[in-house]
Symmetry: C2
Subunit: 252 residues, 2 copies
């Protein structure tokens, strides 16, 4: 399984992914799910992926080959809008799935790949999109500034409480690490190393790309601080009325 | 959809459920999913349910009829162990599903019902069990003191962080309300009124059964306190090393 998430903030983009891949519980391995493409000085793209690993690698190999040997049609160095990059990735994805559809279907294996694309092309706003296995896409918006792929439910509550376009990039990075950590605690197939990329709007290059292993001191501090903070929030919750009554009477 | 959860603590049991039922987004109604049976002075049972509402009501109607007109076989007033009550409910469930299996299958509707059973029979320990649609069951344990049914993922992270057998009943009640509230924020088909039942081991009757509507002042206070606590925990997280550096140099 996989869990990746992205935030589209006023200040820029935050992207994060876990690195655990499994084919059954006895073949759990580590693969990066964050790829950064900077095919020209006027643009940068970050792609997160969840789903069939072979199809994902095929898509990314085609992306790179199209940059090395530009085809007639669109590719990451040629597109004028971010949505055209999303369309291009969606087409590569459905084509790769289609090439293996029959064999995968016979084996009862899903070839689905879902991607998050974040990036910016000079002169256009930065943006964040999710590309479905069917090749279509949706974009994040100020009302819904986050997108998630893979095992997304466990990490969603904290996003629903905290995510807003006004967060700083660093706050966004902390939020996605907390969201990843919540997922990892509740689902053994999601886990570190976590990768976090920060992109400041207009920079056309990531300002930070960090990898946090399970023993990373910062990640451990963050996990401990969050656990302590949640515990503190829990113990500060209001008491039921009968507890207040018992306390007032000195019987509790 | 539905979300119900139970805690098996050293002190007793905590059970909680939402009350939202839907058949499509345009038919969302309110039904209690917590039923308390006290069929004899030496026992009490609480049943939470998720799944097909018609099958659930059929199961509960048979439970009550078996108490009114005792059959030859086991029923809630006759069983000697809590697991026999779980087996009995599992049998009623598979029988009810079986009666409608063909018609439901033709309509493409699932007849599945999952239940949580909590209770105690005098002279035996209190216990908490989940009864699967297939009629089999599992029990909560000190290592896994909580059970969930329905839309369980959003509410699981906080249980994974806080749930432990040493919680007081009131702490357990607050924890399940927070877990319900997290689910409700992330999934529109789960919502108040929430019902919470507390059972102190040995009492053979609930010591508290409360219903919290969306406008309940205590629920609103709890939601506000939790949101504030989460926000506080988030803002207290450690800063990335470059933020610390910038702060130390007075440039941040």
């Amino acid at each position: 399984m996989t869990y990746c998430a992205g935030l589209c903030l006023d200040a820029g983009l935050v992207l994060a992914s876990d690195s655990r891949t499994h084919a059954g519980v006895d073949y759990v391995t580590t693969y990066s799910k964050m790829r950064v493409f900077k095919p020209a000085p006027d643009r940068v793209f970050v792609i997160l992926s969840a789903g069939n690993l072979a199809i994902t690698q095929e898509i990314m190999s085609h992306v790179q080959r199209d940059l090395d040997r530009p085809p007639d049609g669109p590719h990451l160095a040629s597109v004028d809008y971010l949505f055209e990059a999303a369309e291009y990735l969606g087409r590569l994805s459905t084509e790769a799935q289609g090439r293996h559809a029959e064999a995968l279907h016979e084996a009862g294996v899903s070839g689905d790949v879902t991607m998050i694309l974040g990036g910016q092309i000079r002169g256009r706003p930065h943006g964040l999109m999710m590309i479905y296995p069917q090749g279509n896409w949706i974009a994040a918006s100020p009302e819904t500034p986050y997108l998630q792929i893979g095992e997304s439910k466990y990490g969603k509550p904290v996003l629903d409480r905290i995510a807003s376009p006004g967060l700083t990039l660093e706050e966004g990075g902390r939020l996605l690490l907390v969201s990843l950590d919540a997922t990892s605690r509740s689902n053994i197939t999601v886990g570190p190393p976590y990768e976090v990329g920060l992109y400041r709007s207009g920079d056309l290059a990531l300002c930070s790309q960090r990898r946090f292993g399970a023993d990373d001191p910062f990640l451990r501090d963050l996990q401990a601080a969050w656990q302590a903070g949640i515990g503190g929030a829990f113990h500060a919750l209001p008491r039921f009325e009968w507890e207040q009554e018992a306390s007032r009477l000195g019987t509790g």
